[in-house]
């Protein structure tokens, strides 16, 4: 079964600098990896995704990198802004399933 791990429970970054959030997985059978952002007392919101056939996807300040040989996923936010302060979850959809499985989350704090 797929394991998705976010080994850093928290990250603190100064405004304007790059935030790098990491995610490791165990099983290569997946369709998509995604990043979701969650503010307190709100539902998760979709941020960016990457399919299994790509190694990079970019959307504005957000870039997701997929290293299939290392089974590693990362989200780069540059430049970081105070409004980016939230919990970030990596998640995946695997073949032939109908569900999104979330990692444990990393709390990002961007300070002025």
């Amino acid at each position: 079964d797929q394991q998705v791990k976010q080994n850093s429970p928290s990250l603190s970054v100064q405004e304007g600098r790059i935030s790098i959030l990491n995610c490791d997985y165990t099983n290569s059978m997946f369709d998509y990896f995604l990043w979701y952002k969650k503010y307190p007392a709100e539902g998760p919101t979709f941020l960016i995704s990457i399919s299994s056939i790509k190694d990079k996807n970019e959307d504005g300040r957000f870039t997701v990198f997929l290293n299939k040989s290392a089974k590693h996923l990362s989200l780069h936010i540059v430049p970081s802004q105070p409004g980016d302060s939230a919990v970030y979850f990596c998640a995946y959809i695997s073949y032939n399933t109908d569900k999104l499985i979330f990692g444990t989350g990393t709390r990002l704090q961007v300070f002025p």
Partner: protein
């Protein structure tokens, strides 16, 4: 912008009582989900629903849980006899076709507190 709405935002109940959490998914979506997040833990999949039946469920979703789409717009989660460990934030979500886009739209959640 269309959004998923959930009611109630917070419900407090006694252990053993039945609870119904309600959701109105985005109108043109076909796939519906319930997730939950126990305080400080990750967001966990409970159940997915398509074409008026459960398509997938987790081991958390035991006989105490049920889902229903009674009228073509609402999507409900019922917990028959609540336990203390059911205390969590419950999120409803919907999508057009998850495997196609990978994107779920979540509601703001219903906080359930079981005393």
């Amino acid at each position: 912008e269309p959004e998923v709405t959930q009611t109630p935002s917070h419900q407090v109940t006694q252990m053993g009582q039945e609870v119904i959490l309600r959701c109105v998914p985005i109108s043109n979506h076909l796939y519906f989900y319930w997730y939950r997040q126990i305080l400080g833990q990750k967001v966990e999949f409970l159940v997915s629903f398509y074409n008026n039946e459960i398509s997938e469920k987790s081991e958390i979703f035991d006989d105490q849980f049920s889902v229903e789409r009674p009228d073509g717009s609402n999507f409900t989660l019922k917990i028959r006899s609540t336990k203390l460990e059911d205390s969590a934030m419950y999120f409803c979500a919907s999508s057009v076709l998850l495997a196609n886009t990978g994107e779920l739209f979540f509601g703001e959640g219903s906080r359930l507190t079981v005393l």
